[in-house]
Every structure is written in C-alpha cells, then in structure tokens.
C-alpha cells in the first residue's frame, strides 16, 4: 500500500528527527573570528553570483531601501520577511537557530538583545568582512553597542537618545515658560503644573524597563556588564541607581507623576487629551507622538532631558536597533553587504531617517542639512531633528547589556512594575530586582561579579 508505506516513512523520518534533536545535534555556527580578512576579489565574486537572501525585520516599507541594494547588485535577490516586532521576532529567531534551519541571513536586532545572540554564537563576527572600517561612520556610543570588544556583531540602524517632549500651553498655564533644565526644577514644575492645570507633567510607565534604564544611563549608572564569555556584572541597585529611584518615588508618591502602563489605549488618550503635559522619551518619540496626538499639533515642544547637575549635558538612550548577520548564513559576504548597505549607503540611510523616521546613528545623516534643518509643524516649527542630533552627541558612550535581557525585562515587570504601579518604594524594589537577576544568572551558570 502506497499510503501505508508513506506513513511508515513519515514515522521513521519523524523518529529520526527526534533522534537528531535528542542527540543534541545542532549545527553550531562558529563566530568566524579565526578566519582571515575577506579579499575584495571574494567580495566582487560573491556579489556577482546569483544569491537569495532572507532578511527578517519589522521596519515598515524597508523594501524601498532593499530595492536600492538590489539595483546595485542585480544578482542578489532579497526576501524581506516580517515575523513580528520585538519578542515574537526574537522567539522565532531563536527557534529557527535552535532547529538548525529556517533562520534568515540577516536579522534586525535591538542593541540590548545582541549579547543574548552572541552568547550561543549565533551571530557572525563582521570584522573579517571589513566592518571595522565603518566605526567612524557612526556616533561613538551607537558603535559601542554593536562592537563592545574587538568583534563587530551588527551594523547600527537607528537609536533613541532621550529628550523631553512637553506641552508648551499647559506649562505656560502653570507659569512655566522655559523647559526645566534640572531635575530639581522639573520637580518644582511638576507641582506647579498639577496645581494649576490638574495635568501630570509626565507619565512614568509602570512596567517600562526601557525608559527607566534610559534614566539610569543618563545618570551614569552601569547596571549591567558582560565579558562575552561567562562572567556578568549585575548592579541595578547601586547608590546612583537608588538616587534615580528615590527621585521618582517622591514624585509618584506626591501624585505629581502618573504611572499608567504605556503604549496602550488609555495612555494614547492621555497624551492626546492633556492628562500628561509631557513625555520623557527617545528620539523616535517626536514622530510617534505626532501620529498619536494629532489634534494637539503645534502645542508641543522638544527639549533636552532635565539634568542632575546644573549646566551638564548628558543623556541616555532608549531603544534603537541594528542589522546582524547570522552565523548560519550560507552567503556571509552578500549578507554582510546587505546589512552594511541598508545602514551605510548614503541614500539608504537618508531614506531610513526621512521616510521611516528612524532616528539615525549615521554621522553623515546627522550632519546633513536635509535632515537636520527640517522644521516640524507639530512642534511649532521647531527643528526637532537638530535638537536630537545635538543630544545624540551627549549620550554616555559605554553601556552594556546582559546576555538574557528577556528575563531582565520580565523580572522588571514583576518586581519594579508592581511597586511603581502601587506607588511603593522603588529603591526597595531595585533590591528585589537585583536578587532575582543574580539568582537567575547563577542558576544559568554565569559567574556573577
């Protein structure tokens, strides 16, 4: 019987695949750093050979930039796939890597997740392909994100240096004409705004680890460290971190800052109807806000973050991502050229900044008048891009991540998130968070510094 044989076959192959999985046979992609530099001849040859590449990204309409690449290299055919944004994207990526097939050649990865893919040697070290030479094309701190040591794990795509977006009209109603320059002024302003208008000067998303870590970054806190091997540094409850936490605890407990969960309907409405008079956010925030609170066009202004010390100019980063090449790719040269082209070619990088509104880490774009001199109607004609381009140079250059940020964020929700929502003591929650992270790291076999 044909069918019976087919079943038998299916069962056997099924059993065989289990056996394969059970024996732990997964093609391990070596970092490839032992390999010498790739010559220009190899590159030319690879770029003229008909090749199919798969590119996983959630950037909308990135096909336009890919098209530029395909026009330059007609032999290369790129398939762009969107498998979900953020966590779902990484889950699918890890599953495909684990399964040993189905992984893309190039994938978008946010900076904080790079170490978690470096650890299992899932990414290709791009130095043999000449990625070192690109360092000067990007702002220092963004480059440090993709190249913490001698290797280069990805090409920076966009960043999120943080600033302060605020409603000029609401602050004016409270008698505040200048954006608060220091955190002390910010606290005073928060009280004035609440008393005069009933609005909160801003919202601190209860479970938004990214924003809080951005504040830490600005305050010079170094909560995480990873040597690329087996040693991690976890220090989320340092004295500096607690100072930041205490500041917010005071404002929250005085009911001067709301702690609504962000990026949901309630929060969108709050931005649109003046419940929040401002938002301490990243460089991708201005465009995002413009789409969320259209009816308040012209009322918003942008400013740098308040400072801890008067006269200082320091900021942190929240968000941003890069394009990495997977170690499992069969076409490393073409894959690298794609990652490089998208984020390094002048026309492509400019498109990313002006059409997809990704805030650029590329120095060429940050200095290009076509980008910097744009005036934004939503912000009363302000040159918002210029402001954030200036802020971008004030971000502390060194900031590291742990190789298990999924857990770090979910643990933040459990420990910090619930306490912030309950208007509790955030400093104490930092201790709980620290304990959870250390325990997890030890359970996973890391040496904790």
């Amino acid at each position: 019987m044909k069918k019976a044989r087919k079943t038998a076959l299916a069962l056997v192959t099924g059993a065989a695949s289990i056996a394969l999985v059970m024996s732990g046979c997964s093609p391990s992609g070596g970092g490839g750093s032992d390999q010498g530099p790739v010559s220009q001849d190899d590159i030319d040859k690879a770029m003229e050979t008909p090749t199919k590449l798969t590119f996983w990204t959630w950037v909308p309409d990135i096909e336009n930039e890919v098209k530029l690449f395909e026009e330059k290299y007609p032999a290369i055919d790129v398939k762009v796939e969107n498998v979900g944004q953020g966590l779902p994207h990484y889950q699918k990526l890890r599953s495909a890597i684990e399964a040993g097939e189905g992984a893309p050649d190039v994938a978008q990865i946010e900076y904080q997740y790079i170490p978690s893919f470096v650890l299992p040697e899932s990414l290709l070290d791009l130095t043999p392909y000449g990625a070192d030479d690109l360092a000067d094309d990007y702002v220092d701190w963004a480059w440090n994100q993709v190249s913490p040591a001698d290797e280069v794990w990805a090409i920076p795509q966009d960043v999120g240096p943080m600033g302060n977006l605020y409603r000029e009209d609401i602050l004016a109603a409270a008698g505040i004409t200048e954006p608060p320059a220091t955190y002390d002024e910010y606290a005073t302003a928060a009280k004035a705004v609440k008393d005069a208008t009933g609005s909160y000067i801003s919202n601190l998303g209860a479970t938004q680890a990214g924003q809080m870590i951005g504040f830490f970054w600005q305050a010079g806190v170094k909560p995480f460290g990873y040597d690329g091997e087996e040693t991690v540094k976890i220090d989320v409850n340092s004295d500096e971190a607690k100072q930041v936490a205490d500041y917010w605890t005071q404002l929250i407990q005085a009911d001067l800052i709301s702690t609504d969960v962000d990026f949901n309907d309630t929060w969108y409405q709050g931005l649109a109807n003046g419940k929040y008079a401002g938002w301490l956010t990243a460089a991708w925030g201005p465009i995002f806000l413009q789409g969320t609170a259209e009816n308040t066009s012209g009322l918003w202004r942008a400013a740098p973050l308040p400072q801890w010390t008067d006269g200082e100019e320091v900021s942190g980063n929240w968000g941003g991502s890069s394009d990495a090449v997977l170690a499992s790719t069969k076409n490393p040269i073409a894959a690298y050229e794609l990652a490089k082209f998208i984020n390094n070619d002048e026309e492509s990088a400019m498109k990313l900044a002006t059409e997809q509104f990704l805030f650029p880490p590329q120095v060429s774009v940050l200095e290009d008048p076509a980008f910097v001199d744009q005036q934004s109607e939503f912000y009363g004609g302000q040159e918002v891009n210029k402001l954030f381009a200036d802020i971008s140079t004030t971000v502390d250059t060194d900031f590291e991540w742990l190789p298990f940020m999924d857990y770090v964020y979910s643990s933040y929700e459990e420990t910090m998130g619930t306490v912030i929502a309950d208007k509790g003591d955030i400093s104490a929650a930092l201790d709980t968070w620290q304990d959870q992270l250390v325990k997890y790291a030890k359970d996973q076999g890391f040496t904790v510094e």
Binding site: K3, M22, D265, D406, G445, F446
Partner: protein
C-alpha cells in the same frame, strides 16, 4: 453509565468471527483502516511524539552556560516547591471553584428554560446566547479589555455618570473576577448547547409519566430532566476542568493592558510559556506542563469518580 449494563448484556449474542474473513470483509477492514489512518498520523505526530519529547526534555536541565545535563526528576521537585507555579495553580483552582458552578448553572438554567418554553423566538434566543462562543477568545479578551478600561471604557464612564466612581476591573484584587466574567460570557452558550441537545433526546414517555404523577415544571426539571442529562453535565464539567486549568489566552492578552497585575506565573500555562520563551528554561517549562497535565487528569478523574459514586448510591436507594 446507566446504559453500560445493557450493552454488556447484548454483547455475547453477537457471534464471534470464527470463520476466516472473506475477501470482501478484508477489503472493508482495509478501507476502515485507511479512513482511520489520517487520524492516527496526526495523533502520533502531533500528540504522542511531542508528548514523549517534552517528557524527555523535562528530565534534563539546560543552562545558558554549560549546556544540557541529565537532571532526573529535579525539575519536578523544583516545580512542586516553586511558589510561582503553586500560586498559579491555586489561582486557577479558585477560578475553577467559583467560575465553573456559575457558568454551568447559567448554562443549565438557559437550557432548561429553552427546553420547557419551546416558544416562538427560542431559536433566536438560543443563537444569541451561543453567539459569544463564536467569537475567538483573543477577540473576546481584547473587547472586554476595552470595556473594562478605567478611563474610556463604557462601563467606567457609565459608573462615573451615575456617581459611583471609577470601578477598577483591572486591579490586582479584581482581575481574577474580571477574567471569570470573560470566560463565563464566552462559554455559557457552548455548554448550554450541549445540555440542550441532551434534553431534547429525553424520551417523551418520561414526561408523560411524570405529568400523570402530578409533577410541575420545577419538579419535572429537578427529578427527571437533570438526572437524565447527567452524562452531558459531567462532560461539561470535565471540559471546564481542562479549560480553567489551562487558562492562557485571557492572562496573556490582559497582560498587555495590565502588565503590573498579570505576573508571569498568573496561570500555570502562562507560566510554562514564559519559562520556555522568556526565561529560556525549556526543560523546566516541560516539567511544569507535564505536572499541569497530571493535575488536570487527577481532578477530571475525581470529578468522574464523584458522580459515579453518587449514581450508585442513588440507584441502591429503595
């Protein structure tokens, strides 16, 4: 079951197939197997193989540093002392004890009401009650999430307009109740249809006999209808055991609205998911899932045992 003695009594009357089966019979058998084959293929590849594989996985421990090592029953021991897992289990246990009686009570009430009135419009009413079940759980949860919203949800707005303040449906204290409401809304109609179908198959003679004995509608429902559809009710209870202990879609979606309330271990199933995909503890997740399956099997068995014992007791009564 009340029908089983009759069945066993009949069985010997069927002659055992002693003669060699004819070619025609063999062909029939072959056809029968062929028809069964797709089921078994799916059953084995989609259920048995993954089950065996995850059982195998649950015996190991894999670390980000150091890889996979055999761990015996270590993961199970860990789960049994894991407050997160036990807490989740307690939560769904509470959910089961409170929500299931309400849901099945409502379903039974509607089924009996529809059955006794059989009036015009009953079809439309039946459809209306059943309709929420046609809405996927994901959509239902998103919809209720909006209705529960504290600022712009219609329930909160109505409550404020009436001067009752803002109800906090999504707070830590009320979340489980809000979830019970969603699940009840979703599944009353489904359970009602099962019970209603069982009610329609009760022979009319029983009703006539009861009427001759002078039974009213309530007496009829209590002494004739409900006992007659007990197997169907048992079925809905078992489904509900499985459903409530596997609660997943509701917590995982409400987590986006209230991440500060829905913890990673809010329900055991959601915990297993987070263990596997967030914490990257695949092996431990497999152990948790296995234990959860065991708990469901035991409780389902207990429920069944309870009703059987009760039936026996009632039958032995004079």
């Amino acid at each position: 079951m009340s029908t089983s003695p009759a069945l066993t009594a009949e069985r010997p009357s069927v002659p055992p197939p002693k003669r060699r089966t004819s070619t025609a019979k063999r062909k029939q058998y072959r056809a029968a197997y062929l028809f069964l084959l797709p089921f078994f293929i799916v059953f084995i590849t989609m259920l048995v193989v993954p089950l065996v594989y995850s059982g195998y996985l649950s015996l190991f421990e894999s670390k980000l540093i150091g890889g996979e090592v055999f761990n015996g029953l270590g993961n199970y021991v860990r789960a049994l002392t894991d407050p997160a897992f036990l807490g989740g289990l307690g939560r769904v246990g509470l959910f089961f004890i409170v929500q299931v009686p309400i849901m099945l009570g409502l379903a039974l009430f509607f089924a009996l009401a529809l059955d006794s009135f059989r009036a015009r419009g009953s079809k439309a009413i039946r459809l209306l009650i059943y309709m929420p079940y046609a809405v996927p759980a994901v959509v239902a949860t998103l919809m209720w999430g909006y209705l529960y919203g504290p600022d712009f949800g219609p329930l909160a707005q109505m409550s404020r307009a009436l001067g009752f303040g803002t109800p906090e449906f999504l707070s830590a204290e009320n979340m489980l109740g809000s979830m019970m409401n969603i699940v009840t809304w979703e599944f009353v109609g489904y359970n009602m249809i099962i019970m209603y179908a069982a009610l329609r198959s009760i022979p009319a003679e029983l009703y006539e006999a009861a009427e001759i004995d002078g039974a009213g509608q309530f007496r009829l429902a209590w002494s004739v209808k409900i006992p007659a559809i007990r197997p169907a009710i048992l079925l809905t209870v078992i489904f509900s055991v499985i459903g409530s202990f596997q609660l997943f879609a509701e917590p995982s979606l409400l987590n986006t609205i209230a991440p500060d309330v829905i913890t990673n271990s809010y329900t055991p199933n959601y915990y297993a998911y987070n263990l596997a995909f967030i914490n990257q503890e695949l092996n431990y997740a497999a152990a948790v899932a296995f234990l959860l399956g065991l708990v469901i099997a035991v409780i389902s068995y207990l429920v069944q045992l309870g009703t059987q014992r009760r039936e026996r007791r009632e039958r032995s009564m004079p």
